[in-house]
Symmetry: C2
Subunit: 511 residues, 2 copies
């Protein structure tokens, strides 16, 4: 058995059975091993950022890591932006990066680069395999690290001779460390704060945004008057009819400050202390009031759902019913953010997976879609735009049988547009709604905040027109059927049809 | 004056007047400064790898660095693969990377990443600005580093407050260090070797591949019987009628070994000691004979052209005339690599710039096009595929008035296909010939070398069909007119027409 074969067997034995791949010459022995050994679903990406973003989306829905297969330092570099996003989402992932043979590296051939150095900023664990006989063990550790709460990125660099040499040994799956137990003192402290009569806000992140955890959080809120809120960006939120709604901290600094005004105690439940996305002159970097006390009920790596359940019990908080709203109606007439949100709420299929990289156009979507059919809502967590299409691709593979609805701003879509081809090849049930506003709208807002009257140079740098991107041709060029909507009626029809037909579809929404 | 304004003034004062940009929120003060201060040509890219590849192509033709404008660590990460290629091409470049404000970084907001760590593997120099008053000085050093022979990549990270704060000071351009003089002893040693009767090969790289340097190399070869060869990949080679032809070390290991067989003395002239691209079991990592002595006439950072001129003088080598070949004729009939090369040689316009990322289909292009009209030939130097379209984009901006002919493999094109839009927006005179073979042909060859009878999994990972990419739709979607050629006659007509009309055009060549 060569090293590559021990790698594939070890990954499969540890439950990693999906690989998002963009291989090169140095990975041919790995490709050959994947070919010989049944059990691994290999999904080809035309660009590495598609592979890493898809592995992120897959893990969020499947609840376990996928592997990626990347080619040398530069292939890893192309994956980094979405590895950064996945790291911020606390997603498990195992990157397999082929590289120069151990003895060839000193010759500094053209593709030789510092793959380890590049991996570090996006990985919890980086190792370069040294010999075929160690590859299985290295892979087992990589999966163990990836599955360690709250979910981590492990990067294993594989010099080509460690793959082709004999002596490979399959390693058994290593035990996943239990998440650190929630501290009974932290639960007792939270109970006292909640009974103390001061204004308390629970900030819910990670597993605290699953359906049962949100139900417990609402029990606590109803029993104590505490407020509930989620961070601005979240890996996965369980939403829709019969579930318990939660709002998020808004993106604009002033709105974020307003949302947290008056809070005396901020209790973190699987979330980190919130910071604004960027600094602005004269504005605070933390949206919470300066005099608010910050407490931790559960750190991101702890079981926030168990913590909420224990806290609800400690408070003797009775169960509460989820809110009942009238069934939403699709909007008619002109296209706009609120009209779109109403149609989405009305037409979203049961158990849809919504991937939201809608940026400025979508800021009102979340509060207006609580009454949609039950669904999961996935966001870009690291702010590196260009993850939406890959995330939707991976989510569809991680959640077969569920329609993925990919809400996608045009500027962001252009970073990793190649994901459409993988959706076509794998015949994934993804409806992409492309908000075609032909500009970096968020940057136009930011520039307006900076100085007056932008001139030609600035406008050209924030404008995606001249020439306009023809999204129907782009989608069809990658094999995805597409149509354009210029009214809400057209959108409603196209969207409903797309959810009934198998495979991907793109709706270019003129906004 | 704020820091951003001092940055723009300093760059312009140091001769950097072109910026390939993909800005974000943290760069808005830089964008505003570019808007207020005339003189900088700003070229928008839809993806950062387009910006860095274009800056590479620009520098190769303009002979001076461009700036890039990138957004935070992940924006830099997206640029890394083509920064790696540019580093291998010894190209000057100044990267300006916006980042979190100095005081905001400790809050670890979502887009916070280790930009410095990622920059290092692709940069000769990395600095994070600390205060607005130092930004001008930092920028002047960055340009100085970039222009230091043989051409280097300098990365300046700019926390947003260093751009928006007052106190900016314009720094004067710093002197560019003279290249280390060529050693007279090295010239004398080379002269003796060349007169010594043993088999000598001059390996010419970098500035030794300019027209006058190649003329001197041919004087030397004619006078001494020495052989001449260039590395497999080169930043820029002066070629065509009236110039002196040079062949390259072939890519396949066996062919490379055969090309260097019998060499007793290998003299490096602006080139590094050759290594094979990858290691293969049982094959050598260096193609030169194990018993060959390696000598250095000029290191990459020395003036290899001056070294050749001095050596030719020391040898009293008489001038030789360039070879005269009959004018090539365009091919007719079926499409194939040799037919294509004949048509290219016949139809290439005077002073064209050829960008070659043709990979497997193009291996015979170089030897068959020596008799084309005078042109420059540019290649990907770091092996990270996905630089061709950006390189062509930047070369067109760096060499106005010259037709750029972009020879592009389909698999590689898909990494940075967004470059087509920048070509359309800037109305660049680029003819892209897209070799549409619907597979990673190089990897199919490599896999065949590894094991027998690839199965479905392996084939799917190396195949770009299912669905086929529709290159006409993709090009037109990005605003570039396009047509398909299925015979050489069709290609000849389309190519000739494209060279007469302004702006970009794409020919999908069914191969």
């Amino acid at each position: 058995m060569n090293g590559a074969e021990s790698l594939v067997h070890t990954l499969l034995g540890a439950g990693v059975d999906t690989c998002f791949a963009n291989p090169g010459t140095s990975e041919m022995h790995f490709v050959a091993a994947l070919d010989r050994i049944p059990g691994m679903r290999c999904v080809l990406a035309l660009f590495e950022g598609v592979a890493s973003g898809a592995a992120d989306g897959y893990a969020r829905m499947a609840g376990k890591p996928a592997a990626t297969l990347l080619h040398c330092g530069p292939g890893l570099a192309n994956a980094l932006a979405n590895l950064h996003n996945a790291r911020r989402a606390n997603v498990p992932m195992v990157n397999c990066v082929g590289d120069q043979a151990t003895y060839h590296r000193p010759l500094d051939a053209p593709l030789t680069a510092d793959a380890e150095g590049w991996a570090r900023g996006a990985s919890a664990w980086v190792r370069t395999a040294r010999h075929a006989r160690e590859v299985g063990r290295d892979a087992a550790v990589a999966v163990q690290v990836a599955r360690t709460a709250p979910g981590q990125i492990a990067t294993l660099i594989l010099p080509s001779d460690t793959c082709w040499e004999a002596g490979g040994e399959v390693a058994p799956a290593l035990p996943v460390p239990a998440a650190p137990a929630v501290d009974a003192l932290a639960i007792e402290q939270a109970r006292r704060l909640l009974r103390g009569g001061e204004r308390v806000l629970l900030l819910l992140g990670g597993p605290a945004l699953a359906a049962a955890a949100l139900a417990d959080a609402h029990r606590i809120a109803a029993a104590t008057g505490a407020r509930l809120l989620a961070p601005g960006s979240n890996a996965r939120v369980a939403r829709g009819r019969g579930r318990y709604p939660i709002e998020r901290i808004p993106y604009p600094v002033d709105a974020a400050v307003a949302a947290l005004a008056g809070v005396r105690h901020l209790i973190l439940v699987g979330a980190r202390e919130p910071a604004t996305f960027f600094a602005y002159p004269g504005k605070p970097g933390r949206p919470a009031p300066a005099d608010a006390s910050v407490h931790v009920l559960a750190r991101p790596e702890q079981d926030a759902a168990a913590a909420l359940a224990a806290l609800a019990e400690a408070l003797d908080a009775p169960a509460v019913s989820p809110p009942v709203s009238p069934p939403p109606e699709p909007a008619r007439g002109a296209i706009g953010p609120e009209a779109f949100a109403h149609s989405l709420a009305a037409l979203l299929p049961e158990q849809a997976v919504v991937v939201d990289e809608s940026i400025t156009f979508g800021r009102s979507f979340f509060p207006l879609t609580h009454a949609a059919a039950p669904h999961d809502w996935l966001q870009l967590c690291g702010g590196a735009i260009g993850e939406g299409l890959p995330l939707a691709t991976g989510a569809a593979i991680g959640a077969p049988g569920r329609r993925v609805v990919s809400l996608q701003a045009d500027g962001s879509a252009l970073y990793t547009v190649q994901a459409l081809w993988t959706q076509a090849r794998e015949r994934l049930d993804v409806t992409t709604v492309l908000f075609d506003n032909r500009r970096y709208a968020i940057l136009q807002h930011e520039l307006a905040a900076v100085g007056a009257n932008p001139g030609r140079t600035a406008l050209d740098m924030l404008d995606l027109g001249n020439p306009d991107i023809d999204w129907l041709r782009i989608a069809e060029g990658f094999g995805v059927a597409a149509a354009r909507a210029t009214t809400m009626e057209q959108f409603n029809d196209l969207f409903a049809q797309s959810c009934l037909r198998p495979g991907p579809f793109l709706i270019a929404l003129a906004t």
